[in-house]
Amino acid sequence: MLEVQDLKVSYGRLEAVKGISFTINQGECIGLIGPNGAGKTTTLNAIAGVLKRSGGSIAFEGEKLPNQAPEATVRRGISLVPEGRRVFQGLTVEQNLRLGASIRSDKEIDSDIEAMKKRFPALEKYATTRAGSLSGGEQQMIALARALMARPRLLLLDEPSLGLAPLIVDQVFELVDQLRSEGITILLVEQNGLRTLELADRSYVLQGGRIAMSATGAEDFAEVEKAYFGAEDSNAVAKETAND
């Protein structure tokens, strides 16, 4: 469904993603795990078209995605739930949902909004409240519902559990599982390695902008941890070189 070929992304002279290739099949949930600065979010942003890629190609459902064209990417059926939720704070919950359907012009937008409110009762309760005044967990629900309003076939989730209470984290992972069983393909970026390994069909460990290893389940956790530590070592080396 999604084919990432030798993806490279640079911030100025700094290459954050140094040639990543992987494939996602229809209906899969794929995890991208790794320490801070490994290039996970950058990869996701490049797929979503929010960031410009400096090399490589991305194909979705057999067609190449244009470079840095977020609107076109959403139209193709790829939606991003950004890191840190990033809901439209000053707008109401309902307006946030409506904005999720920015690329749509059909008549089912209103009924979809009602469906989202049924699915996430907090959104129903606070429909006319400013999104910024809700809790982190509730904002995560808004961000998810907003992305679902575009009726995506591939959902890109960037650290959905970040900064949430453990109980809410459980809910989020349950929800991701539910979405997958509904047939939405998912690319999940997480720092929570174990939870991701348990949930995902397959996970890639990113380290220093490259794929260090791939894992299929919780039984690979020991190995994944090693890759994590490896990353920290290489970070230390990078810092030293930078200081020099």
Binding site: V50, E71, T73, P82, F88, T92, S102, Y126, T128, T129
Partner: protein, 354 residues
């Protein structure tokens, strides 16, 4: 009936604001000609700042160049309404089609607004692509260009000399209609999906882009709408003044309108309406003071008020809130509930905005 009630409630804010302006329009003439003239200017300023708000407020990008649309509207409107006989002596080198044109105010409004909208559409092609501050500065450059063209195109504008003989069609009722019309147009735009997308980009550009909002396109639409509105206000203002120069649409007005919007609040239509009203009262008071202090008090006082608002209430006096009877009622009920010693469950309802 409930459908009608729903429609009226949805338009609550512009209806309430219109009633306030209507009251001013009724009362002002009885206080003498000088107050009536001030009321006319205030109503025109309301329309102008509402037009400015439809870009700067909704997109969150401040603009220093929107008065160029006003100049275009004013000159276009004046050139097609000045009596043909007068044009013969005032502007002998006018091209034939303009020299022989003499239309009514509504047609002039269409021409002035249309021309300003067309100009906005053309400059929006490069300008809407620019990020925040660059856009603000590019609009300032547009203002300078328009001013220089107006001040030097002698055969069309009489250059720095005043353009005279403009029929004074703008009564207080015309000014009121312009202000109310601008408010309803901008409110409808603000609540539409286009306005919503523009506000989303104001809240968070990254999220808006990731959601599929085409920020450049939305800013372009907003530029054209605000350009058209301000162009119309330009026509109306010129027909109030009767005599004007390019300086009437330059730096002073740019500063005044931005101050009005900032004081009222850049994030709500109510702010864009309340701001000019407060500034009108303030400048009147300061002008009275100028008889004691000498000239300049008005500008200095206004600048100080603007700084005070920026320091103590950065989102302006309305703080992003719209005028709504329902909010006032909720607040009143909550106050009563609190006095009765009950814990308020309406806390979250209070933050409801729309």
């Amino acid at each position: 009936m409930s459908y009608l009630r729903h429609r009226v409630l949805a338009l609550e804010t512009p209806i309430l604001l219109s009633l306030i302006l209507l009251l001013v329009t009724f009362v002002a003439p009885s206080a003498g000609l000088s107050i009536e003239n001030r009321a006319i200017v205030m109503l025109i300023n309301v329309a102008l700042v509402v037009g400015l708000y439809s870009f700067a407020g909704l997109s969150g990008v401040l603009t220093f160049g929107h008065m160029s649309f006003m100049g275009i509207g004013a000159y276009a409107g004046a050139l097609v309404t000045i009596p043909v006989v007068a044009k013969g002596s005032l502007l002998p080198d006018l091209p034939g089609f303009l020299a022989n044109a003499e239309v009514s105010l509504p047609i002039a409004i269409l021409i002035g607004g249309g021309l300003a909208a067309l100009f906005a559409a053309i400059i929006s092609l490069p300008i809407a692509r620019l990020p925040g501050l660059a856009l603000s500065l590019a609009m300032f450059a547009v203002l300078i260009i328009c001013y220089q063209v107006e001040a030097n195109w002698d055969s069309l504008t009489r250059g720095r000399q005043a353009l005279l003989g403009v029929p004074t069609n703008t009564t207080i009722w015309v000014a009121l209609a312009t202000a109310i019309g601008a408010m309803f147009v901008v409110f409808a735009y603000q609540q539409s999906r286009f306005g919503l997308r523009l506000r989303a980009a104001r809240e968070d550009e990254y999220s808006a882009a990731a959601t599929g909002v085409n920020i450049v396109r939305e800013r372009r639409i907003s530029l054209v709408i605000s350009g058209a509105l301000i162009g119309v206000v330009g026509v109306v203002y010129a027909q109030y003044l009767g005599v004007f120069t390019p300086n009437d649409f330059y730096l002073d007005l740019t500063f005044m309108t931005i101050a009005m919007l900032v004081i009222g609040g850049t994030r709500s239509l109510t702010g864009a309406v309340i701001g000019p009203m407060l500034v009108a009262v303030l400048t009147y008071t300061l002008q009275q003071g100028e008889t004691v202090t000498g000239p300049g008090l008005q500008q200095v006082g206004l600048a100080i008020v603007m700084v005070l608002v920026l320091v103590f209430r950065p989102s302006g006096l309305t703080n992003g809130k719209e005028l709504k009877l329902s909010t006032v009622v909720t607040r009143f009920r909550q106050g009563r509930a609190d006095r009765n010693g009950r814990s308020s469950e309406t806390d979250k309802a209070m933050t409801a905005v729309e």
